[in-house]
């Protein structure tokens, strides 16, 4: 055995190993913190330059309805894009939520035996399909379909919301399923013992209990929809005005950044205005995270 060789050298090696490990892992973790701090700093400094350096008023940016950066009297109203972002992500959540909740109930309450084996891979594959492919399918299937059934060109808020709803379906479903399957068994059993039907149990015992988790899933889904860029950009039409109907061309914050960032000169007002939109996206991310945190706190049964 090595016990005899317990010399000071061995002890040093032992300590050295521990030091290396600790320093290495601490370095990796600090990197995460450095990344996020520098990200906030850089995006904020660029995004705020619009207001501090270029003298655009914050309220003109947030509530201005006209986006005309190249005009004689350049206007930087981002309201159409903010409205577009909220409209598409809210609608997407509205479409996806009932579907997702039903899918989770199917997997956990109706046929847990084979329901999960069928739906789980389906959900995972839906999550794995790249966003540009969703955009492509939206462009070749959903847009022509909408064009034929509704007035307008097919591109617009509705097309964007439908594409996004499929993309956020996996997010909401997996979070809801996790919550449902971690539910204590006694809850359901006592409800059944009282003579409640399955639907009564689901609607008045199960859903109220996991509601915070379901909402968490919906908020995370909305966050994803809010930040999604390319798929939306492909189907929404990218017109810089507030849409009057669901089937009219519109823009989102992400789509306008995607399209214009490459064509602007770094440091110009126009470029800075786009950075302000990126900052708005970032702030929205923080808000979504805060909402999720608050919901999670409520969930502690």
């Amino acid at each position: 055995m090595k016990v005899k060789k317990q010399s000071p050298v061995l002890i040093q090696k032992h300590h050295l190993e521990d030091w290396v490990g600790r320093i290495y892992t601490t370095f990796c973790v600090s990197l995460l913190v450095i990344i996020i701090v520098s990200m906030i700093y850089f995006v904020a400094s660029k995004g705020l330059a619009t207001f501090f350096t270029n003298g655009v008023h914050v309220e003109d940016f947030l509530f201005g309805t006209k986006w005309d950066p190249n005009g004689e009297n350049p206007l930087f109203g981002a309201l159409p894009f903010i409205v577009g972002s909220f409209a598409t992500s809210l609608l997407a959540a509205l479409i996806a939520s009932p579907l997702s909740i039903c899918a989770s109930l199917f997997m956990t309450e109706i046929v847990p035996s084979w329901g999960k084996r069928i739906l789980q891979p389906v959900i995972e594959l839906l999550a794995g399909i790249p966003s540009v492919v969703y955009g492509f399918v939206g462009l070749t299937v959903i847009v022509p379909l909408l064009r034929d059934t509704f007035p307008g060109q097919g591109i617009g808020v509705a097309a964007g919301a439908i594409v996004l709803s499929v993309m956020i379906l996996p997010t909401i479903t997996s979070i809801t399923t996790d919550a449902l399957s971690s539910l204590p068994k006694g809850l359901k059993e006592s409800s059944y013992a009282l003579g409640a039907t399955r639907w009564q149990t689901i609607s008045s015992v199960i859903i109220p209990t996991v509601l915070p988790s379901i909402l968490t899933g919906i908020v995370l889904g909305m966050a994803r929809a809010f930040g999604e860029a390319l798929a939306v950009q492909m189907v929404i039409g990218n017109a810089p005005h507030i849409p009057q109907s669901l089937f009219q061309s519109a823009s989102t914050l992400t789509s306008i950044i995607t399209l214009n960032m490459g064509n602007t000169v770094m440091g110009s007002v126009q470029s800075n205005a786009l950075w302000s939109m990126a900052l708005a996206l970032m702030v929205m991310t923080f808000i979504f995270v805060i909402i999720v945190r608050l919901l999670e706190r409520r969930h502690r049964i």
Partner: protein, 298 residues
């Protein structure tokens, strides 16, 4: 309405919606593969794209995607492992750990386009790496790191406590226990998680528009000098990946057969994602068997 009737209706609705989702996926996959497979041929996979004429391929894009994936994994794995191990083994519950957890959470929910813009500002412009595979890989690292951290932390937490205690009882150093006792046990879930994360890299496009660029220089596949500007393995050249290419031809494609190319490229991308999913499971199972001498996955 009688409770029994309500129950039947509700069950019917739930089953219908669930089947609808299954149908949706089958329809999606069917559509993508049906539309795309007819365009996939060896020459489509290997030839260079055409801007104006018909008949372009996706050769360089396919290579770029794979190469970028390798680069990203080389950077992500050591960093993600380290941070994940810290979270699972070193972090003590408290304010700092809570803060780091929040950082991971926020980082994973940042829109990829914001991460891409940050990359444009810092890596492409300030650090001067330009539009390059390397910039793209760094940005994808930021994008993938939170996922890797979570996968690693879960994998390490999944290791039974007795394993660690046995190591401690033998007088091993903590780092030694981590690397030679816990890591092998955690490896199967690590492999599965990493490959799934890698699959996500494959489809990412928004963050790459501003970092890896939207063009590829004419590549000379006989030139394997990593410093030559036309060499395919030069990490400091601009590179358009498959996902970016799909986006580009859909929004500004000029070739007459742009729709067909988009369909073919989408099919290739989806097939790759499917393959990644299968490989992840398969590799995980193989590694599990190799390290535990057991025949069943837990």
């Amino acid at each position: 309405m009688k409770p029994k009737t309500a129950d039947k209706i509700a069950t019917g609705v739930i089953v219908t919606f669930s089947l609808l989702i299954v149908g949706l996926l089958l329809g999606l996959l069917g559509f993508i593969l049906f539309r795309g497979l007819s365009h996939i041929s060896w020459s489509f996979l290997t030839s260079v794209p055409q801007t104006i004429r018909a008949g372009g391929g996706i050769g360089p894009q396919l290579f770029n995607s794979l190469f970028l994936l390798v680069l990203t994994l080389i950077i992500t794995i050591p960093l993600g492992l380290g941070a994940g191990i810290y979270m699972a083994e070193y972090a003590k519950p408290g304010k700092i750990t809570g803060g780091i957890r929040l950082v991971v959470e926020v980082l994973s929910s940042f829109p990829s386009i914001v991460v891409g813009l940050f990359g444009l500002l810092l890596i492409v412009n300030t650090f001067g790496f330009g539009f390059s595979l390397f910039s793209g890989a760094l940005v994808l690292t930021i994008f993938n790191l939170p996922l890797m951290v979570r996968v690693t932390e879960q994998a390490f937490r999944g290791v039974p406590k007795e394993q660690k205690e046995a190591g401690l009882a033998l007088g091993l150093s903590k780092w030694k226990i981590i690397t030679s006792v816990l890591l092998p046990v955690a490896l199967p879930s690590l492999v599965t998680g990493t490959v799934l994360a890698a699959g996500r890299v494959f489809g990412e496009a928004a963050a790459l528009l501003f970092t890896a660029g939207m063009s590829t220089p004419r590549l000379d596949f006989t030139d394997w000098n990593p410093l030559s500007p036309t060499s395919p393995i030069n990490p400091f050249r601009p590179a358009e990946t498959l996902a970016v290419h799909i986006w580009k031809i859909n929004s500004e494609g000029l070739a007459p057969d742009a729709a067909a190319i988009a369909a073919g490229a989408s099919a290739v991308l989806v097939i790759l994602v499917l393959v990644f999913n299968l490989v992840a499971r398969w590799l995980g199972r193989i590694v599990y068997r190799a390290f535990t001498a057991s025949k069943v996955m837990e």
